[in-house]
Amino acid sequence: MIKSSLARVFFALLKRDLLLAFRHRSELFNPLLFFVLVVTLFPLGTGADTKLLQAIAPGIIWVAALLAAMLSLDTIFRSDFEDGSLELLLLNPHPTSILVLAKVLAHWLITGLPLMIIAPLLALFLGMDQELIGLLVVTLFLGTPVLSLIGAVAIALTVGLKRGGILLSLLVLPFYVPVLIFATNAIEMAMSGLPVTAQLWILGSFLLLAITLTPWPTAAALKLSLS
């Protein structure tokens, strides 16, 4: 009976979180706005030299996406922690790791997906080749869920703390490095006309690994934060 209802619980939670996000639409745009702002600052800081911007565009977009993803992490568990519904998510017969996965998926749909959609526009701002934009979106598609999944572990560890902000970035950023490296590297290789399948496969395997491995520590960390 528990197994058959697992999918139902997963989708019920997903639906609830999406509904909540929809009723708080204004908050949806904050990470997105941050993403756009950071990318806009770069040309102002480095000078509007087209060649230079083109060369560092993948790095800029990915670093900005990474920071935006990090800033949005707090919303995964914060409100559930504050109103007590997190306790209910832990105290039910279903495996917490699956519920965690539903919450992270909802979070990615709310924050990661919009980043992916707006990134092509920013790529054009920075003068990236149009053929590369598709690849950029693919790397974001494979990479940003990993950011959410890893971030969920860190936020689960810090959700009980009053001021977890800077601590969160310290916990999360070292773990984001591999994703950043392979994603930007893929685009740079493509710029010089080299094949990038290896990088994409690696990003894909990061995603699979993160999906299978991160829910457990996240669930365990949530329990610690509530105790």
């Binding site: 528990i2 019920a12 009723r23 519904s85």
Partner: protein
């Protein structure tokens, strides 16, 4: 017959020992009232009993009927225990941006069984016709009632309630007392803390004072 067995339970919080070597059994139809001063570890005890917090020492086991199923709560939350237990904490656990019905529907999808429909549960806690209102529009007492409706609907036999009377008016308190007695009469188990003087049938009550 279901019963909860607690042996040699001790709890340390922030390096301070809250209680030591706590033993008790709670059987079907019994209510455990946990008393004690502020900071004596009532909430921590409840959290240990429901499996969120690990005790410093000791064991909590849940025995269900003929199968003699043992769920070692202290080790990790066990499926059969988690399905048979419902917890109401300090916080109501309601989502303010969802309607009353949406909240209950979600908690129903989390629970295994369910005793009654949403409408019935709402009627019993005195929130009839509030289904489509957003929880943010309810008063604190009404939110507490909604949380109690969730408890009612869960179909669990063991209720763990942390200050269930908070924010309730006199009529609300009486209503909750009735609900709890009803649950006990049906063979349920209740563990609760309360600052209010409760008026239950004394024969069903066990009480523990953590301050002593």
């Amino acid at each position: 017959m279901k019963y909860l067995e607690v042996r040699n339970l001790s709890c340390v919080r922030d390096d301070r020992s809250l209680f030591k070597a706590l033993d008790f059994d709670l059987a079907s139809g019994q209510l455990l009232l946990i008393e004690g001063d502020n900071g004596s570890g009532k909430t921590s005890l409840l959290r240990i009993l429901c499996g969120i917090r690990l005790p410093e020492q000791g064991r909590v086991s849940w025995h269900t009927g003929a199968e003699q199923l043992k769920a070692e709560v202290a080790v990790h939350s066990n499926e059969s225990y988690a399905g048979d237990m419902v917890f109401l904490g300090h916080l109501d656990g309601n989502k303010l941006d969802l309607t009353v019905a949406e909240n209950l529907e979600f908690s129903r999808s989390l629970a295994l069984g369910n005793d009654c429909s949403i409408a019935q549960a709402l009627e019993r806690v005195g929130l009839k016709h509030f289904e489509d209102l957003q929880v943010s529009n309810l008063s604190a007492g009404q939110r507490r009632r909604l949380a109690l409706a969730r408890v009612l609907m869960s179909g669990a036999s063991l209720w763990i309630l942390d200050e269930p009377f908070t924010a309730l008016d006199q009529q609300g308190i009486e209503m909750v007392e009735q609900i709890i007695s009803g649950h006990l009469q049906q063979g349920g188990l209740v563990i609760m803390t309360s600052h209010h003087r409760v008026s239950f049938d004394r024969t069903m009550i066990i009480s523990i004072n953590l301050s002593q």
